[in-house]
Subunit: 368 residues, 2 copies
Amino acid sequence: MVPDKTLPLDQILLGDCIETMNRLPARSVDLVFADPPYNLQLGGDLLRPNNSRVDGVDDEWDRFEDFSAYDEFTRGWLKAARRILKDDGALWVIGSYHNIFRVGAILQDLGFWIMNDVIWRKTNPMPNFRGRRFTNAHETLIWCTKGKDQKSYSFNYDALKSLNDDQQMRSDWLLPLCTGPERLKDAEGRKIHPTQKPEALLYRVLMATTQPGGVVLDPFFGSGTTGAVARALGRHYIGLERDPAYAAAAEARIAKVAPMREPDIVAIRSKRSEPRVPFGAIVERGMLRPGEVLFDERKRWSAKIRADGTLIAPSRDGGIQGSIHSVGAAVQGAPACNGWTFWHCTRDGMALPIDIFRQQVRAELAAG
Amino acid sequence: MVPDKTLPLDQILLGDCIETMNRLPARSVDLVFADPPYNLQLGGDLLRPNNSRVDGVDDEWDRFEDFSAYDEFTRGWLKAARRILKDDGALWVIGSYHNIFRVGAILQDLGFWIMNDVIWRKTNPMPNFRGRRFTNAHETLIWCTKGKDQKSYSFNYDALKSLNDDQQMRSDWLLPLCTGPERLKDAEGRKIHPTQKPEALLYRVLMATTQPGGVVLDPFFGSGTTGAVARALGRHYIGLERDPAYAAAAEARIAKVAPMREPDIVAIRSKRSEPRVPFGAIVERGMLRPGEVLFDERKRWSAKIRADGTLIAPSRDGGIQGSIHSVGAAVQGAPACNGWTFWHCTRDGMALPIDIFRQQVRAELAAG
DNA sequence: TCGGTAAGTGAATCTCGGG
DNA sequence: CCCCGAGATTCACTTACCG
């Protein structure tokens, strides 16, 4: 996929996102991923039971006069995004119940055609401290194309199926919040952006609905998660951001990202394997990385991990590809193999079966 | 909870739901649960408010016409529902991405205040046969009250927490589709209603946001799941249905439901609904004596009981006086404190929270 | 260095009745 | 209407600190 070379590829453009989009050529980008302000409308302070204060999102950029002001803002950026999208392009928006219904209705009014709504289920959401509602444990994403009759949009069905251990990817995704080392912090240890999204979320979005070399535009770039994952996956990004401090942090972050090698990224077909915890989830979460090499316990065979959660083992005729189970069987010349116990990785100089990661994920699933 | 006896309780009313609602008294029902027609794109099912049929056309102009007709229909039934709701009542709607964004936006425009959106995750969704989208594995429910300033809505927090293994109920609910013996079928074994909702879903909705004896109205009654669960749980239902065949099937279904016994229904009383016991009553009864000294659990602070049921804690400028709560907060320098659980006394050499005396008094009150 | 405990934190529309 | 004050309320995970 070859992008329009006149586009400001792999750059962050400072300024108002609508004005900036209006200066870009029409029908030029493959995907828009947008994480707009949610219009949370928070009241006063909220205290935890231990009397500590919740650091709510009270930034100026999330304050709107009323619903109609928010609608006008939404229609504005969606129209601009629609103009720059290729006809076979797609758009994702993420939001919460505060804003997502308005965004979804306006999308439809503008002619976008919803393909799926996708639920990001959080493994570790903030509880409801006063016990007056359900724990708000998810956010909603909308995936849409430019119109009902648009049939040629990108959807890497097989890659996502591979990522999900050879079962169709569902519309509900279980992923942790962005915390720990992935969370950008300043010199004093304070979070740089209040709503930084996890890379695993963008990983799945870009794997599903873009091709290598495609162009992804993010009109609310913030801490630059879209750019970081795009670079890692060999996609081009265009980041629009109003706040120079966010833009600077995002630029520094993206510069540190090592792009994966192309053969690790290309999605392939794979055969059936056991369901339950998908091996793709292990890769997505960064417990194992694309390009990392796995061995059997006695190091007789090896295979490399690819971004879609499949393995590739060297062989005379170009390489054996497939799930952890099918590749394990093929290298041994065996009829079957449990890849979870067969394949090992190296951690701290020790060989560990990859099943330990499945156990970790299972613990999370049980908890969630 | 005693309902308005002039209401047509535990009945199914045939006819247009908007007209029927408009004949019911204002501010009379506790909950509206609505499973409206999902959309136009599937064709056929949708009637305009004037009962004319919407033609299934698919060019752009007509698609917008469809959305606006759907919006008009939605505004119509939501306005009627709003009128009959008590001020402290609530409304639930269930939908999919075809319609839920429009419904949610209109809800907000009419002044409803969203408490949560809740995701019904299906354990056994229909797969996406053509492999062009994610498996559509969830539906969305919206729970809202009549307005932003409405604080006294029903939410049985403790009951839901119990249902969830003593953890706060989250906004994502994993429940199977309605299949097997629960699914209503005709003599030839064909399902009677295309979108019969599982009883487990309504069980959770009614457990969460209604009280025993309360009135639940369902404007799109269909196969009568709302009525069946309401009857089982000791709630009253009012079912509105246009189609006499659905109404007949629902009536027969509900007649077979055995109501649970009252003691099995009444949830554990929440702490908020327990009778208030002033600390002075503990002193009056001699359970704690004036002059006795109380400590916090780790014995960092102390305070002495006075005859009027206030405490006094030593401090540089003469002593902090006030209620058990205000003195507890003051000694810690905290904004608030629950004195009942903060302060302890010594009995048989053991530190006991003073809340045990309040529990004793409450037990006496309940017995007497 | 290691293990155990304590503290911190995340897109949050977060109390309620009486005077 | 507002103001006051009683008193109810948290899950999963990371980091810091201490012995």
